[in-house]
Amino acid sequence: MKNDLTEGSQVGGWESEQMRKQRRVSRIHLPNCSPAHLLICMLAVLLFWVASPAHARINVVTLPGRDSVQLTIYNSVDLTLVKESRFLTFRKGLNRLEFSWANTLIDPTSVEFRALTHGDEVEVLDVSFPPRVANTLEWRINSEFAGEVQVEIRYFTSGINWSADYVAEANKIENLMHLAGHVRVNNHSGEDYENAQVRLVVGMVRLVEEIAALARAGRPGPLTQLPAPAAMPEASAKLALYQEVDRLQERAKDAPRQVIKEGLSEYFLYTVEGRDTIPNGWSKRMPSFKAQEVPIVSYYKHERERYGDKVIRHYRFKNDKESKLGTEPLPDGAVKAFRFETDDRLYAFVGRTSVKYIPLNEQVELELGNDLEVMVKPVLTNWIKTDIQFDNNGNVKGWTTREAWEFELQNSKDIDVVLDIRRNFSGDWSISTQAQHENVDANKVKFVAPLKAREKQKFSYQLTIRHGTNATR
């Protein structure tokens, strides 16, 4: 990617429309200026003593490109904070800096400038979005200092996103797994980001206007069909995040090359090891963490209202220290689960699923699809109606039904499993059973049965439901 800085010089602070036009023509003819990319031009137009537009002299100098770039990518919204720093040579007095971003997805309302060195001497007077020119702004900067200044330009872009994904490798008997996390960054922003530090934010931020819509507008102004933003709290929240991000960035400078994972406010920030180049259109997947021998339970669930007659396999684990995890929350993402089938670690494909965001110490269940080798067969073995009550008009006002249920369970697998069967009831119901059970809520009962390899089991319960006036609750 090329970034071109052009510089001219100007005495005085005034520029005619004619000069603007001439300047723009000059810019268009700059060598190596691609229309599809960001462009920064330092305009220091020398104004002659005779303030005639015809005598304006335009000085165009190509300056070195970005000296560093950092991407902070959000996964809950289409938003990336880009921070780039570069060295610019300022003259004493008024300097004009033009920033343009044709064919990219930058939010014009988000572009910010600040001097990292000589901050006291370099002051942004104003920023102008020139008329009839899209995707361009111009800072008027007063400098008390002549010479090289390190500046930072910060903006939001859309079109870059990231996602997490996981590979789970269970052992043969499915009581341990290796869990490897990855992050994948996709760049469709229109801009190439070379040698960028990549930081990923896990968390939900609120946006009242879409960055992509702001980018399409090309310049600040009201967006059609969008409600007016509830500006203040959002702006200050963004500011707070900026500041926090900055603070962390300062700290990260001295950190060794590793994946730094740090909580900030309600967010979690991943700083990916090293620097990466992600050209426009490309995606890049990088390892995020690897946990060995995480204890899991092969947990099978049956709930007719949820899964029909199927039995659904889950791997259950906990995001905590005892489980060799617990160092960070795990972002939501796709999971592919395999099982080592042979001694030379050939895979069997167990299933694919997606996980929700997993906070620290949370128990997780990876739902891995139907397993035909675990069977649950419920049979209603008896049904009676009794305790009929009549009202004064002789109508039936209350009755009670009693159901007898028998469940056949069969594990056809060569490994032990745990089976979780849930039954949903309604009305004034009660059950009686010898089987271990637990009330999940007012109308849901859970039976948990550990089954050894190739084991069959049966359990039964009696369900009583009181209808009409027989109901006492």
Binding site: S34, D192, R285, Y347, N382, W383, I388, G394, N395, V396
Partner: protein
């Protein structure tokens, strides 16, 4: 097209030009050293292939690309096998608009590495098909279990190790668009139980009122257990075609007649775990006639409200089932009755043959004597009371 999946170690650089990211590949193409296809998950086919690649010391770019095949790009994984501790996959890049990815692998030294690449591939499937030949006495049969592999993946698989989740693995070559059928199991002398099933809910009660002879569904029942020389694994769903051995006519007088088969029907086998029965409905018998009549249907114990409307009652119902077997051999018949709601059996003629299947279903398992028609017909009667009938009883569960 032989191979549509390629692996290349990029010995050249990856050129990223400013405006278009044309990729120039200078490649060394390693051949596959091993291919393993795992079909044990019915939802997805997993392919694992091993290749020998030569790595330079430092960071290497390895390009994996495919065309004309449908690979789930998010499923692709690479695992170094020879030096898993010294070869590290740093990252994976996905170029735009290409079915390709590039791994950056760091190697601690220049070395040859065997890598295993795993991915989920569409278009490669398996079916189970069963063929059974019953003996003329219909007491046993020979069951053949075939595995049918369909390769519409776009990729030719040569000497692939195939794993189906049970039994031994085997090696096969299967080209794109080829269907390959293999015998995976053969069981001789598998006991079968031949039964007819008359279900009161689905068959007409009085054949006299039918224009055509009522056929009674005929099934073979086999059990997936050790006694039947089965039971080692769950029987998977698939089509079962059933034949029966027949005697052929001798070509010439005095010559020994050969043996042939006749097709008796087919059904879809359902998933059958070990020790459970598989019932295959293969045809109908018209040599058995079942007539069911309700000979008593009274409301009893009627309770009315003040408006004289019946709000609750019991019933007294008697059913008579007459069964005739016109065959010269005895036959097993199951009569299935459905009585939803709360009911009680008062009395019945065939208590020993009675079996309650669930709250609303019961059966009589009868063995009809040979030629038991006319005066010798079998008559089943049962008397039930429905209790506390309101009209709001569940019909099923």
């Amino acid at each position: 097209m032989k191979h549509r999946i390629t692996l290349a170690v990029l010995t050249g650089v990856l050129f990223l030009s400013h405006s278009a990211h044309a990729r120039v590949k200078l490649v060394a193409l390693p051949e596959r050293a091993r291919v393993v296809v795992s079909l044990n998950n019915p939802d997805a086919t997993l392919v694992e292939e091993e290749r020998l690649i030569t790595l330079q010391k430092g960071v290497n770019k390895v390009d994996f690309s495919w065309r004309g095949v449908n690979i789930d790009a998010t499923s692709i994984q690479v695992r170094p096998l020879t030096h898993p501790d010294n070869v590290v996959v740093l990252n994976t890049s996905y170029p735009p608009n290409e079915n390709a990815l590039i791994w950056e692998m760091s190697s601690s030294s220049a070395q040859e590495e065997r890598v295993r690449i795993s991915y989920l591939l569409s278009g490669l499937g398996r079916d189970i098909a069963y063929k059974a030949v019953a003996e003329p006495d219909e007491k046993t049969m020979t069951l053949r279990n075939y595995l049918r592999l369909r390769n519409d993946s776009g990729e030719d698989l040569t000497e692939a190790e195939i794993r189906i989740g049970y039994g031994a693995n085997f090696k096969k070559t299967i080209a794109h668009e080829e269907v390959l059928e293999m015998l995976s199991e053969r069981i001789d002398g598998l006991p079968i139980k031949k039964i007819l099933t008359w279900d009161a809910a689905t068959l007409p009660w009085d054949p006299e009122y039918e224009k055509k002879t009522v056929g009674i569904p005929l099934s073979y029942v086999i059990k997936n257990d050790k006694a039947s020389k089965l039971g080692a694994h769950t029987l998977l769903p698939g089509k079962v075609r059933i034949f029966i051995k027949t005697k052929e006519q001798a070509e010439k007088e005095g010559e020994k007649a050969g043996e042939g088969v006749a097709f008796t029907g087919e059904d879809w086998a359902t998933l059958t775990p070990a020790d459970r029965e598989l019932k295959l409905y293969i045809g109908q018998s018209r040599d058995v006639k079942v007539t069911q009549r309700k000979t008593k249907d009274d409301k009893t114990n009627i309770r009315r409200n003040s408006g004289n409307t019946i709000v609750l009652h019991d019933t007294d119902e008697i059913y008579k089932i007459e069964v005739e077997n016109f065959k010269k051999t005895p036959v097993d018949l199951v009569i299935v009755e459905h009585i939803p709601g709360y009911w009680k059996m008062v009395e019945h003629s065939h208590a020993a043959q009675f079996k309650k299947k669930d709250a609303f279903t019961f059966e009589y398992n009868l063995t009809l004597p040979a030629e038991s028609s006319g005066n010798r017909k079998t008559t089943v009667t049962f008397n039930i009371n429905r209790i506390n009938v309101q009209g709001n009883e569940p019909a099923s569960y």
